[in-house]
């Protein structure tokens, strides 16, 4: 336990770093916050007020862990106050004196394996899912960064999220484009969840190890199929390791550039698209996945009311909080997707897929929100000739 002064000092450090004094408490952030719409005790504006009053209680506030870091507030703020980044720093400070998410979902299991990866001496068995149809190599110009997909399929066995199909589809697509991607046997978790969970030290270890591993493959381009990996590698890694010397692209970016080189067969489907926060608002990639969907003959894209920058988060982020509010966000989002007339919801983040599938596995789910979920890569690989 630190003294009151030390806590205040730490808080002030964060506040100065994030320039929150721009805030005029207009409350626009609260008006769009997806959690604030349901949970009456969580409003970004209230947290901002506590911050402006330099109230050290903020550090112990359990609500700190409710934020989804979805960036809706950032999008609407005219005054350049980055609320979700403030939350990130406050969580890191909170961790410094032993605080933690009060109710980490899944009993904190995902964080456990992520932290286990932060040691350098491990030798993973990540290739179980690779079959002879997939052409891969250990070094090469193009690297495919798989992410935690092999772990999700094991840990959420009961839920059957089938996230590994994202990896196999991605490799199939790349093979079709004539690329044999390199994949790393000892790739680590990108550290996204630890970073947003305030475990900065462990995150930095993961980032260092990953960069070393990437260097070993002599890759010039890193392709990710996960929106969170993409954002973390592209935007967060340079903050600690400096210039990456590799280009990071999301599979949707890469594919939309190469659409001319790939032939897709017809598929009659009405689909809708869920913008992952890390790909959309945090990285500004809106058009590429839509271009790909539109390129498939017969597939009709029905936009939900909240799309692109006003898209709603899938309800949970970083395995830090999940509860009745998350569930309500998910249900509303699924209902919205179904109401467009679509029978398939496309996303390009495995986490969105897991969270929506979890909501769909509930016993009391109503008929008007039951819709199939698929990743963009899976959809494309279905249409490969």
């Amino acid at each position: 336990m630190k003294t009151e002064e030390e806590r205040k000092e730490a808080l002030l450090g964060v506040l100065r770093k994030r320039q929150i004094y721009n805030c005029v408490e207009c409350g626009k952030c609260s008006s769009v916050c997806p959690i604030g719409q349901i949970n009456e005790s969580f409003y970004p504006r209230i947290i901002m007020r506590k911050a402006l009053h330099e109230n050290p209680d903020l550090m112990d506030d359990g609500l700190l862990w409710s934020c989804l870091n979805c960036g809706r507030c950032d999008e609407i703020c005219d005054l350049d106050v980055h609320f979700y980044e403030l939350i990130q720093d406050l969580r890191a400070e909170c961790r410094n004196w032993g605080g933690y998410a009060i109710y980490p979902p899944h009993n904190g299991g995902p964080h456990a394996w992520m932290k286990m990866m932060a040691s350098s001496g491990i030798n993973q068995n990540r290739f179980d899912w690779i079959n002879s149809d997939l052409k891969i190599q250990t070094t090469g110009d193009v690297l495919y960064f798989v992410g935690c997909l092999p772990y999700y399929d094991n840990f959420f066995e009961k839920l059957k999220p089938d996230t590994l199909s994202i990896a196999t589809s991605t490799i199939k697509i790349l093979n079709k484009l004539g690329i044999e991607p390199a994949i790393m046997k000892n790739e680590r978790c990108c550290g996204h969840d630890l970073l947003w969970g305030g475990d900065v030290e462990e995150y930095q270890k993961l980032a260092q190890i990953n960069m070393e591993e990437i260097k070993k493959t002599k890759a010039k381009k890193v392709i990710t199929s996960c929106a969170e990996c993409y954002h973390t590698l592209k935007t967060e890694y340079p903050k600690i390791v400096g210039n990456l010397e590799v280009e990071v692209v999301h599979i949707s970016e890469f594919l939309s550039e190469n659409l001319a080189n790939i032939k897709l067969k017809k598929l009659d489907k009405n689909v809708s698209f869920q913008d992952p926060c890390r790909l959309g608002r945090l990285s500004g990639i809106y058009d590429e996945p839509r271009n790909i969907i539109k390129a498939i003959d017969g597939v009709e894209l029905h936009e939900m009311q909240g799309n692109r920058a006003s898209g709603v988060c899938c309800g949970t982020s970083g395995w830090l909080s999940c509860g009745t509010y998350s569930k309500q966000i998910q249900t509303a989002r699924l209902k919205e997707a179904k109401a467009t007339g679509a029978d398939l919801l496309i996303t390009s983040c495995p986490k969105c897929q897991i969270h929506f599938k979890c909501a769909l596995s509930d016993r009391k789910m109503e008929e008007d929100s039951i819709i199939e979920i698929q990743d963009l890569t899976t959809l494309v690989s279905r249409c490969l000739t």
Binding site: P105, A112, W113, M117, E157, C322, K327, D362
Partner: protein
């Protein structure tokens, strides 16, 4: 269910024990009891069996009742139930029908076969003679036989049971119930010899020669005539015990037109109702006080009135009037209640309010005394002024060494439950006497306190009505009260307000020798130790073992909760996973409106096994005293030195005593192995463990039968660590039966060896 209790720490230092090295976890000796238990002369844990009935665990409830009372069926029918008078529910609507619920349990046992409770202690050579087989004698015989002594009961009449057999009418207490419960006592090895009168068939000397201790529990079977003019003058004044004896034996009673019963206790009402059934036309009861003061439950008064018994309240008899040598009536005075000089009300006769009650027969149930005619002067017994044995009030020993007296013959006429209590007390001091322990009252014995209960707003809910024979069917000796059905009993038991923090139900740990959560203080059978929330105590951050004397000066409020799952409704997603895994249907999905569901846990049904928190995706459920953070702390602390963690189920843990020498192994005790989720196992590895071993029970031996989930948790964790590059052999889950100490030894050793080899 949880409340802050300061008063525990108020009077003296309290001993806190730190069980099984759970850091910051304390056991606290409970000196408080619920009001019903305080009121009970034999200290029955009422709340415990009510809770079990509410949960539908009838057999376990019978066990709880029979731990303290060999006569649940009898008490459930005739007890004056002081517990109900003290019941906190009185301040809301009506008390919980504790007595009827006990009777329900006895009926359950009667129908479904005897429930055996506990076992006989080590056999001892000493022999004890008990004279009299009433409730006192048989309770003492039961207790002493269970402690391992040889017990012989001598009964003067043809059938054992004393007042239970002869003094209570069969429509209130059917004799097959009495026989059934006496059979139960015989099963402990008690020998009952009937038709033997001490002083006539066997002399006291012979008895003393052949036995190491003697208990007189001969009751008070001599009814006294009313102490008013005319009582000895006329014919027609009858002995009420004789009358009841005849009724009970099915003998013919001489019928007259009318009978007047003087007195207002249960025996009076009982006698009047019997007389009505025997064929008396006019039956009256004369009682000097008011209806509310009558020590008879209101349903019995009502039943008597329904059956045509006329009760004169506030009436006192002054003279028995006769003609030609036989009784024709009683002259009475009206009375009024006035406050007595000391406390309470007393009846004051009103001048000039004389009136006559006509009666051919008169009987009084007011007084009876022991029949001491068979004792002679050479026996040197000292008797009291009440014509009963003069005994030491604490030890119940008479003036002759080795001879004790209990029950009505020592205390004067009392109720059944007091007779049972007296028998228990006598058994205790006889055991001390035979062990040559002191019979004096120990100094500084702490008296239990009553919970200070605050009643919160409670829903008004009337007692469940006892089904009875209709008025028109009551001309035979068939039992009037028909008893609750299982449904009714559960409904009634749910009315209990559960005063105090702990349910004392013991379902979390039914075997006395393996208590983890609720412990009994030494030498007591009903006091329990509770677990105390650790954050109310100052901590020094170290693992502490042994005892800690808590000083009053440092008293902090202590939060006491029962060991069960609690749901955070803010976090619950309402997915229904907990509903699916719980075998006791404790969690239920509740619609909060607009399609939002949350799960709610029924406190009465939850057993705290911990399978629901281990499957909850949003970590909304936690187990009191077995929270995830506590488990984290336990494994983290132990992993500083030891590298293998074994999560061992509560019921197997006892067997691990001889394997604690393995230096690299730390054993963490959990209630059920299903409490450990796959994430918990992964976290243990993340903290630096080299291996995790889980030990649970076979499906048939499992106390919670959460078999499938446990296997899945270990399977998932295995797959994850395999992906990360660790050997799957580092996780193992084994099942065994808690009576296989060799097997557990073998499993643990082979697992530790395997982990050593893998390094």
């Amino acid at each position: 269910m949880s409340e802050k209790i300061h008063s525990i720490l108020e009077s003296e230092n309290v001993i806190l024990q730190l069980p099984d090295s759970v850091p910051g976890q304390f056991n606290l000796r409970r000196i408080e009891k619920s009001p019903c238990q305080m009121a009970c002369p034999i200290d029955t844990p009422v709340k415990a069996y009510l809770g079990l009935i509410a949960a539908g665990e009838f057999e376990k409830a019978v066990e709880v009742v029979k731990r303290d009372n060999p006569f649940p069926g009898i008490c459930g029918r005739v007890c004056i139930h002081p517990c109900e008078n003290e019941c906190e529910r009185n301040y809301v609507d009506q008390p919980v029908a504790i007595c009827y619920l006990k009777r329900f349990l006895a009926d359950y046992e009667f129908k479904n076969g005897r429930v055996k409770v506990g076992k006989i202690d080590r056999k001892k050579k000493k022999q004890i003679a008990i004279v009299g087989s009433g409730p006192t004698g048989l309770t003492a015989a039961n207790d002493l036989a269970r402690s391992g002594y040889g017990v012989t009961v001598f009964e003067a009449s043809a059938e054992p049971g004393g007042m239970l057999m002869h003094g209570i009418s069969p429509f209130i207490l059917p004799k097959n119930i009495v026989r059934f419960e006496i059979e139960g006592i015989k099963e402990w090895g008690v020998e009952i010899r009937t038709n033997v009168k001490i002083g006539v068939d066997i002399s006291l000397e012979t008895l003393q020669k052949n036995h190491h201790a003697i208990l007189f529990a001969i009751g008070a079977h001599k009814a006294l005539k009313p102490n008013i003019p005319g009582a000895n003058k006329y014919k027609g004044i009858i002995d009420f015990l004789d009358f009841l004896k005849k009724v009970n034996r099915g003998e013919q009673v001489k019928i007259n037109e009318s009978i007047a019963v003087i007195g207002g206790d249960r025996a009076s009402v009982d006698l009047a109702r019997s007389a009505k059934r025997m064929g008396f036309q006019n039956v009256t009861i004369i009682y000097a006080r008011s209806r509310t003061e009558m020590p008879v439950p209101e349903p019995h008064i009502q039943a008597a009135e329904e059956e045509g018994v006329k009760i004169y309240f506030q009436t006192c008899p002054v003279k028995i009037v006769g003609e030609n040598g036989t009784v024709i009536g009683i002259e009475c005075l009206k009375t009024e209640s006035v406050l007595g000089p000391y406390r309470g009300k007393r009846p004051l006769p009103l001048q000039n309010s004389n009136f006559m009650i006509k009666a051919d027969k008169v009987t009084s149930t007011i007084n009876r005394e022991p029949d001491l005619s068979s004792f002679q002067e050479k026996d040197h017994f000292r008797f009291s002024v009440l014509n009963s044995f003069s005994v030491d009030p604490y030890s119940l020993s008479t003036n002759i060494k080795g001879i004790f007296a209990a029950g009505d013959c020592a205390t004067g006429p009392k109720t059944t439950i007091e007779a049972i209590a007296s028998g228990r007390k006598a058994a205790k001091s006889i055991a001390s006497y035979l062990k040559r322990a002191s019979l004096k009252k120990p100094d500084g014995e702490r008296q239990p306190l009553e919970y200070e209960v605050e009643i919160q707003q409670t829903v008004h809910e009337e007692q469940v009505k006892m089904p009875r024979l209709s008025r028109y069917e009551r001309n035979t000796l068939k039992e009037v009260d028909l008893g609750f059905s299982a449904q009714e009993a559960m409904e009634e038991a749910k009315r209990c307000l559960k005063c105090g923090p702990c349910m004392e139900c013991d379902i979390c740990n039914p075997d006395c020798s393996k208590r983890l959560v609720i412990l009994y203080p030494q030498g007591e059978t009903t006091g329990s130790l509770l677990r105390v929330q650790y954050d109310s105590f100052p901590r020094n951050g170290q693992l502490m073992n042994g005892q800690l004397i808590w000083e009053r000066k440092q008293s902090h409020p202590i939060e006491v909760k029962s060991l069960m799952a609690t749901m955070n409704s803010e976090i619950c997603r309402g997915c229904g996973d907990c509903v699916e895994v719980c075998l006791y249907s404790a969690p239920k999905l509740i619609n909060r409106g607009s399609g939002v569901y949350i799960s709610k846990i029924d406190e009465d049904l939850c057993r705290g096994c911990g399978v629901c928190p281990s499957v909850c995706p949003s970590s909304a459920i936690t187990i009191n005293y077995f929270s995830d953070s506590q488990l984290d702390y336990l494994s983290r602390e132990s992993l500083v030195e030891k590298k293998i963690v074994a999560f061992i189920c509560n019921w197997s843990y006892e067997m691990t005593r001889d394997i604690e020498q393995i230096s690299n192994l730390n054993m963490i005790r959990v209630l059920c192995s299903a409490r450990i989720s796959s994430a918990q196992i992964l976290k243990t590895f993340e903290q630096g463990a080299k291996g995790v071993l889980g030990i649970g029970c076979y499906e048939k031996a499992c106390h919670y039968s959460a078999i499938q989930e446990t296997t899945e948790h270990y399977h998932v964790a295995k797959k994850v660590i395999q992906t990360i590059g660790l050997e799957p052999q580092r996780i193992r889950f084994e099942r065994l039966s808690p009576d296989q100490p060799h097997k557990i030894n073998k499993i643990v050793r082979s697992f530790c060896k395997k982990i050593e080899d893998l390094k």
